[in-house]
Amino acid sequence: MNGAHDLGGMHGLGPIDAEIDEPVFHHEWESRVLALTLAAGAMGKWNIDISRHARENQPPGTYLASSYYQIWLVGLEKLLVQADLISEDELSSGKSAGPLSEDLAKRALRAGAVPEVLARGDNFTMDDEIPAQFAVGDRVRVLNNHPTHHTRAPRYTRGHVGVIERCHGVFVFADENAKRQNNRIPQNIYSVCFTAQELWGPDAAPKDCVYVDLWDGHLEAVE
């Protein structure tokens, strides 16, 4: 979706305002939102792309007016309701209408498992042998598609021509993975190099480049 989250190239958002000796969290609730999000993920009801879409799929004005963890909070609430892990009533009242099924409750993350779960992470690669559509040095164009659903091809790259810098191997295709759980389509990911002038016009610095990781499904060959 062409949403407010797709920020690359926007103007007018102000200076960067880096804080000196910034704490990891600025408010206790931020740390709870992070932890709740990670812990609820153990239910296995969504993947990272579904959760990204839940966060980005907000009215643009709300998205831009929200802090990072406010966006995470809204995203988590949405994910829990969409996955039927909680009801709208439970969410608004804060009162449980009954415990999870035994099956789900068994999945709940235990404190002792935290180090192992974080250390393992997820696996986004896939074993399928999908031949790479493009080789290092090939010129490719980002398809000028404007899907209303989740996509990892930023709007500022659409229609632009870059050069394959590296093939990272076969990964889950995020755009499809975001549509529902277990919709894992294997595709190659490439690091694509775009000159700044290709993206932003002749006034950009001549030697500068932007590298973007894109999947087979985002690209077409250029003669």
Binding site: D17, R32, A174, I189, A196, D213
Partner: protein, 199 residues
Amino acid sequence: MSEGHDHSHLSDTELRVRSLESLLVDKGMVNPDALDALIQTYEHKVGPQNGARVVARAWVEPEFKAWLLDDATAAIADMGYHGRQGEHMYVVENTGEVHNLVVCTLCSCYPWPVLGLPPTWYKSAPYRSRAVIDPRGVLAEFGTEVGADVAVRVWDSTAELRYLVLPERPEGTEGMSQEDLGALVGRNAMIGVEKVSAP
């Protein structure tokens, strides 16, 4: 917006988070001690000191540096750093000809095992919007000068690859230990918005 208004807003959020947490605990979905363990991890155990150790080792061990640039995931895992939001690592090297900068324009992807959780500015709309269209303006705002003869390479973390910048080792650090070198390397240098200075 007034300070007062801002505070009442945060307060609403706080109540909302507490209500959600107690609901999920009541339902048996989350264990409070698991939440504490998650928070402890990112508040105290995982942070940019990890990445700094990787950088310092690459500065003193040429073989490790070659491995890091060739297969960052394996080389970094060799130091004990791996897992969530660092499953697939890629290291980009700053030189006299190239300056690298990492961003995630679409959300806030960041290499957690080596840098911890991202700072607010990295997740903010100003950084995410400007890093790709005006990287030199962003660098200048961090006080980092990059000559016109140096190529600025911006890495937009749009997939599950996570990027770490290997900064240039500053001159005048020839005699320093790996540990002392690590202490020089800050988070911002590994994102690419600053350079590492000699002590």
